[in-house]
C-alpha cells in the first residue's frame, strides 16, 4: 500500500513531470479541452432535434432506439474504429478522430433525456400554457424546458462524464491526454507503475470533479423546484 502511494506521490510531486508538452499540466489541459469541445458538439447535435421531436410528440421509437444503441455501443470499439477511417480519409491521428468518437458517445444520453423530459410534460401544463396564449416556441422554452430541466441536465452530466472518461482512450489513437500515462504505463507495467497510477488517479479525479461541478449547476438551475413545494 505504502509503496504504491509512494510511487504515485513520487511522480506527481516531481516538478519536471508537470512541465513540457508531455507534462501533466499540458496533458490535463488537452484532456479537458477535447472533452469540452466534444460535449459542446454533442449537445448542439442532440439537443435541438430531441426538443422539437418531443414537443411534436413524434418518433418515440427513435428515442428508445437511440438510448439502447447508445448503451450497447462499446466506446473502445468506436474509438478504435475511428483510427482506420480517419487514416483512410486522410485526417490522420490525434484530436479530430478522438473528438468524433467522443461526440458519437455523448449524443445518446443527451438526446434520450431531453426527449423523455419534454415528452413527459403533463398535458395539463401544456394546455394551460396554450390557454394563456403562448405560442409554440414559448411553450417549449418557458414551460417544457424548465419542467424537464433536471432530466435534461442529468443526461448532459452522464454525457460529459462519459466523454471525460473515454477521452483517455484517445491516447490509443495518438491524442496526448491523461490517458497517455496509462497507455505508456501499460506498455511496461513493472517499470512504469508510477505513470500508470498517476494517469489512472488523475483521470478518476477529473471525472469526479466534472460530475460534481455539473451536479452543482443542476442544483442551482433546478432550485426553484424545492422552493415551490
Amino acid at each position: 500500500m505504502n509503496a504504491i502511494f509512494n510511487d504515485l506521490w513520487g511522480f506527481i510531486s516531481t516538478a519536471d513531470n508537470w512541465r513540457g508538452s508531455n507534462g501533466i499540466a499540458a496533458r490535463a489541459q488537452a484532456h479537458l479541452w477535447i472533452s469540452f469541445v466534444a460535449t459542446v458538439i454533442a449537445t448542439a447535435i442532440a439537443f435541438p432535434p430531441a426538443l422539437i421531436l418531443a414537443h411534436l410528440g413524434k418518433a418515440p421509437v427513435l428515442s428508445v432506439g437511440i438510448a439502447n444503441i447508445g448503451r450497447a455501443l462499446p466506446s473502445f470499439a468506436v474509438i478504435a474504429l475511428v483510427l482506420p477511417i480517419s487514416i483512410s480519409l486522410g485526417f490522420g491521428l490525434g484530436f479530430w478522430p478522438t473528438c468524433v468518437a467522443l461526440v458519437a458517445l455523448g449524443i445518446p444520453p443527451i438526446f434520450t433525456n431531453t426527449y423523455t423530459g419534454v415528452a413527459n410534460t403533463p398535458a395539463a401544463l401544456r394546455e394551460a400554457a396554450r390557454g394563456i396564449g403562448m405560442t409554440s416556441p414559448q411553450v417549449v422554452m418557458k414551460v417544457e424546458v424548465p419542467h424537464a430541466m433536471n432530466v435534461i441536465l442529468t443526461g448532459f452530466r452522464i454525457s460529459a462524464v462519459q466523454i471525460v472518461a473515454t477521452a483517455s482512450l484517445g491516447a490509443l489513437v495518438g491524442y496526448q491526454c491523461l490517458g497517455s500515462y496509462v497507455i505508456e504505463g501499460l506498455a511496461q507495467p513493472t517499470r512504469a507503475r508510477d505513470r500508470l497510477l498517476t494517469g489512472a488517479v488523475l483521470i478518476a479525479a477529473m471525472a469526479m470533479i466534472v460530475d460534481f461541478l455539473i451536479n452543482r449547476v443542476e442544483g442551482h438551475l433546478t432550485g426553484w423546484r424545492s422552493r415551490l413545494r
Binding site: N68, R71, V78, L81, T112, D211
Partner: protein, 225 residues
C-alpha cells in the same frame, strides 16, 4: 472479396477463416458478462435489503454506488492492478463495481413503487416482513428490477471490450489486435459482435421479464438514462 487487407475496410476472408476464434471470444465475453452481472446482482440485492431495513443507509449506499459508477473503468482497472494483478479478478472487480449503482437504484425504486395499500393488505392477511418481500413486493417490483439488469448487462458487455487492455477482453481482443496492427477488419468485427451480443442479451432479458411477469403489458414509453 479482396485479398489486400491494407486497402479494404472489411476483409471478409479474414473473418470467415476464424470461426473457432470468434466462438472462443464469444464464450469468453459472455462468461465475463454473466459473472459480473450475477455478482453485481447478489451484492446489490444485499445492499438493497440493508437500505430497505435501515432507511438512513440509502443515502450513503447511493453515494458510494455513484462514486464507483463515475470512476472511469480504465482508471479503475489500472488502480487495481497493483493489488489484484493483470487479469480476470481485476477486470471483474471493476465491472461489478459499475453495475452496483444501476442495480441498486432499480431494485429500490421497484420495491418502493409497490403501492402501500398492497403491502398493508398483505400484512393484514398475515404476511411477515420477509415473506411479504419475497411473495408480494418482489413479483410486483420484478419489471423494474429486470429493467435494471438489462441496463447493467448491456453496459457491462460494452465495458468488457476495454478489459482487452489488461489482458482479458472477449471481443475486445479483436479490437486491441486491430489497433496494434492498424488493421480495421478485427476492429469492425469486435465492435459489431459486441453490439450484437448486447442487443441479443437485452432482447433475451426482455423476453424473460415478459414470461416472468405475464400480468404486465408493457407500453413503449421513452425512459431516461
Amino acid at each position: 472479396m479482396t485479398t489486400n487487407p491494407g486497402d479494404a475496410f472489411i476483409w471478409w476472408e479474414w473473418i470467415t477463416r476464424r470461426p473457432g476464434e470468434i466462438w472462443e471470444r464469444t464464450i469468453e465475453h459472455l462468461q465475463m458478462t454473466v459473472v459480473a452481472v450475477t455478482v453485481g446482482c447478489v451484492i446489490s440485492a444485499a445492499l438493497t435489503l440493508i437500505a430497505l431495513r435501515y432507511r438512513w443507509t440509502l443515502g450513503p449506499i447511493t453515494w458510494i454506488g455513484n462514486l464507483l459508477y463515475t470512476i472511469p473503468s480504465l482508471a479503475l482497472f489500472v488502480i487495481l492492478i497493483p493489488y489484484t494483478g493483470l487479469g480476470f479478478l481485476t477486470a471483474q472487480i471493476a465491472l461489478v463495481s459499475y453495475t452496483i449503482q444501476i442495480l441498486v437504484r432499480n431494485m429500490v425504486a421497484g420495491i418502493n413503487s409497490v403501492p402501500a395499500s398492497v403491502t398493508e393488505a398483505a400484512t393484514a392477511i398475515g404476511y411477515r416482513r420477509l415473506h411479504r418481500l419475497w411473495a408480494v413486493e418482489l413479483p410486483l417490483a420484478a419489471p423494474t428490477i429486470i429493467a435494471g439488469i438489462r441496463i447493467a448487462a448491456v453496459t457491462v458487455i460494452g465495458l468488457v471490450t476495454i478489459t482487452a487492455l489488461i489482458g482479458n477482453g472477449g471481443y475486445g481482443a479483436f479490437i486491441n489486435d486491430g489497433l496494434n496492427r492498424r488493421f480495421s477488419t478485427p476492429i469492425v468485427l469486435g465492435g459489431a459482435l459486441s453490439i450484437l451480443l448486447a442487443l441479443g442479451v437485452d432482447a433475451l432479458l426482455m423476453l424473460v421479464q415478459r414470461a416472468a411477469t405475464p400480468w404486465t403489458r408493457r407500453r413503449l414509453r421513452p425512459r431516461s438514462s
